[in-house]
Amino acid sequence: MNTNKNMSEVKLMKGNEALAEAAIRAGCKGYFGYPITPQSEIIEYLAEVGRERGMVVMQVESEVAAINMVYGAAGAGARAMTSSSSPGISLMQEGLSYIACAELPCLVVNINRGGPGLGTIQPSQGDYFQAVKGGGHGDYHLIVLAPASVQEMADFVFDAFDLADKYRNPVMILADGALGQMMEKVQFKKYNPEEHKVDKLWATTGKEKSRERNVITSLFIQPEKMEQVNLHLMKKYKEIEKKEVRYELLETDDAEILLVAYGLSARICHRAMELAREQGVRVGMLRPITLYPFPYNALRSLRDNIKAALVVEMNAGQMVEDVRLGIEGKAHVEFFGRMGGIIPSPEEVFEKIMKLDARLSNMTLKDIITSEIRHSHVSYRSVRKKL
C-alpha cells in the first residue's frame, strides 16, 4: 500500500519505461532520438503516451541530428532530452561539446552497452571515461548520474532536469542495458514542473524590444575571450564539485575492505558484501551516484580506516583511476571487472573479496602501502607518514 502522500501509486515497470514516464512528468517538452538497443523502449513509450501528454517526440535521421535538435530546443528555453546507447552516444560527442560550451540545460541518457565498436547489446559500463571526462573536444564536463534501480531510473530524471536548469549544464544519466530492461517496482514522486521552472532570460524565444538579442553560441574567436569562457566554465564546475556530489555508504563504519561500484555492479557488490559479511569479513561499500562530480572526499575520509578498496566495474578498469585519485596511495586499491557485456556474479565478487582478505591478513600495513605505490603514481614520500 502506498502510504506516502508525495508519491504516486506503485507500478511495475521496465527501467527504460520508468525513465520515459518520469521525463513526461518532469515537464520535458522535446524528445529527439534514434533507435538503438537496449534503450528503444524509451522512444517507443514516449511515442505511445508522450505526444498525447503534450510532448514533441521525434524519431530523427541520426544521433547527430538528435543531439543538435536538443541543442535547438534547449536553446529555445524548453526542457529537452535525447537517449541512446554507446555507439549513438559517440556520435553525439561533438554536439555535447557545443551544448556544454553554449551552456544549454538538457538531459542525455546513455544506456551503456558493450564495446568498443559495434560491440554487443549486452550491459556494460565501458563508457565511464567518455561520460565523466568530457567525451567530446575541449575542456568541459557533463553532470553524470548513475542509477542502480528502476526507482532511480525515474527519480534521477527529475533531478537531472533540475540540475541542468540550475547550472545551465547538460546532464547525463548513465545506466546500462540491464537497468533499462529489468522490471521493478517504481513510484513516481509528486512533481509539478511549474514549481521547478527557472527563468531562462537567455533563451532564443524572439527578441522583444525591451531586451538585446539573445545569441546562443560556442564560438569565441578571440583567444582572450575563449579563455574567459573556459574560466567561467571551470568556476561552474568547481561549484558543482562542491555542492552536488552524491554517493551512498553501506556498512563502512568497521570496514577493512571497501567495495567501490556504481549502477548495476553496485547491486552485485551489495550481494557479495552480504556473503562476505556472513563469513566475518568486514566489508563496506561506497556507491558513487554522481560520477561527475566524483565523491573523492568520501574516499579521503574513508581511506585511513580501510586496508583496501576493491573497485568492481563492467569494463577494463576506468572508475578505478578516480578511486586511486581519491585514495592517493593511502590504502591498497584493486580492480575486478568483466567486459564485453558480461555481468559479474555476486559469487565472483565474493571470491575476489575472500582472496583479497586472505592476502591482506598476511600483509603488513607497510606491504599494503608499498604495493599500492607500485600501482599508482603517488610518490613514496607522500605516503611515508602513514608507515
Binding site: 517538452k29 522535446g30 529527439f32 514533441v56 521525434m58 530523427v60 535521421e61 541520426s62 547527430v64 541530428a65 538528435a66 543538435n68 535538435m69 536538443v70 541543442y71 535547438g72 530546443a73 534547449a74 536553446g75 529555445a76 528555453g77 524548453a78 529537452a80 561533438e94 554536439g95 557545443y98 553554449a102 532564443t204 524565444t205 524572439g206 527578441k207 522583444e208 524590444k209 538579442r213 539573445n214 545569441v215 546562443i216 553560441t217 560556442s218 564560438l219
Partner: protein, 267 residues
C-alpha cells in the same frame, strides 16, 4: 567621392539636402561586416533583415547561423540567434521550431554546410516538411577555410584542394541538391536566386517574403538557394567574379523557381 572632401565634412553635412532613399533597418546591427568586399553574403543578410523588419516580426523570428563565413551572422542580424555546429543548422532549426511552432525560424547556410557535412540533416528536414526557411548560399567553394572544393564546385574549377580543376573521376559532380530537394513532397517552395544585380535583389526579396508567408500559414519547408560569389576564394575582383558567376555558375545552377505552392514548376 573626393577623399579630402569627405574627411573634411561630417556625415550630417554630407547628407544635408539629400533625400534618404534607404535606411538601415533596425533588424541590422549597426556594425561593420567582416565579409570581403563584393561578397554576396552581405547583400543576402541585408535583404533578409529588411523583410523581417517590414513584416514587423523581429520579436517572432529566430535565426540559425551555421559554421562557414556566415557563422558571424548573429553579429549583424538583430534577432535572436543560435550558432549551429558545421552542417547541423537544419537540425538546430528543427529543435527550435518544434518548441516554438508559432515563431519564424530560418537557417542561413553555405554549400559545404548544407550539401556536404549536413546533407542528411538538410534532406530530412525537407522531407519532414519542417516548417522553416532555409537560405542556401551557393558559392561553389569553402570560403571560411580558405577556398577548398565544395560539393557544388564546378567541373574544371580550380580550388586549393583541386589545384588542377575538379575532375569527375576523383571528385564526382557538382551536387545539385536544390533540384533533389524540390522532388520531396515535404518541400513546399523551392527557388534559386542571385543577389548581384538590383533586379536579382528584388527577386530574392520577393522570395524571402513568399517564404515567410508560407511559414506563417504552416505550409512546410521552404528553400531559397542564392547562387553567389566568393571573390576571395575564387581569386577574382568582385566585378570579374560576378561576370564569371553569370557565365559559369548560372548554366549549371539556372535561376528561377523549382517548386511553387508544393508543385514542381516544370511538371
Amino acid at each position: 567621392m573626393n577623399e579630402i572632401l569627405t574627411s573634411a565634412m561630417n556625415t550630417a553635412e554630407i547628407l544635408d539636402g539629400m533625400e534618404c532613399v534607404w535606411e538601415k533597418p533596425e533588424t541590422l546591427v549597426d556594425v561593420k561586416m567582416h565579409y570581403c568586399p563584393g561578397c554576396g553574403h552581405g547583400v543576402a543578410h541585408k535583404v533578409l533583415m529588411e523583410v523581417v523588419e517590414e513584416l514587423g516580426v523581429q520579436n517572432e523570428t529566430i535565426g540559425v547561423a551555421p559554421v562557414g563565413c556566415s557563422v558571424f551572422a548573429y553579429n549583424y542580424m538583430n534577432v535572436d540567434m543560435q550558432e549551429a555546429a558545421h552542417g547541423r543548422a537544419a537540425a538546430v532549426a528543427t529543435g527550435i521550431k518544434r518548441m516554438l511552432p508559432d515563431k519564424y525560424v530560418y537557417s542561413y547556410q553555405g554549400d559545404g554546410d548544407l550539401a556536404a557535412i549536413g546533407t542528411a540533416e538538410t534532406m530530412h528536414a525537407a522531407n519532414r516538411g519542417e516548417n522553416i526557411l532555409v537560405i542556401f548560399i551557393n558559392n561553389a567553394i569553402y570560403g571560411m577555410t580558405g577556398g577548398q572544393m565544395a560539393p557544388t564546385t564546378l567541373l574544371g574549377m580550380k580550388t586549393s584542394t583541386t589545384p588542377f580543376g575538379r575532375d569527375t573521376e576523383s571528385q564526382g559532380f557538382p551536387f545539385k541538391i536544390t533540384d533533389l530537394i524540390a522532388q520531396l513532397p515535404g518541400a513546399y517552395y523551392v527557388t534559386r536566386q542571385a543577389v548581384h544585380t538590383p533586379n536579382g535583389v528584388r527577386k530574392f526579396k520577393k522570395a524571402v517574403q513568399t517564404a515567410f508567408q508560407h511559414q506563417k500559414e504552416k505550409k512546410g519547408y521552404c528553400l531559397i538557394e542564392v547562387v553567389s560569389n566568393c571573390p576571395s576564394g575564387w581569386k577574382m575582383t568582385p566585378v570579374v567574379s560576378n561576370k564569371w558567376m553569370e557565365e559559369n555558375m548560372f548554366p549549371v545552377y539556372p535561376l528561377g523557381d523549382l517548386k511553387l505552392n508544393g508543385k514542381l514548376v516544370n511538371d
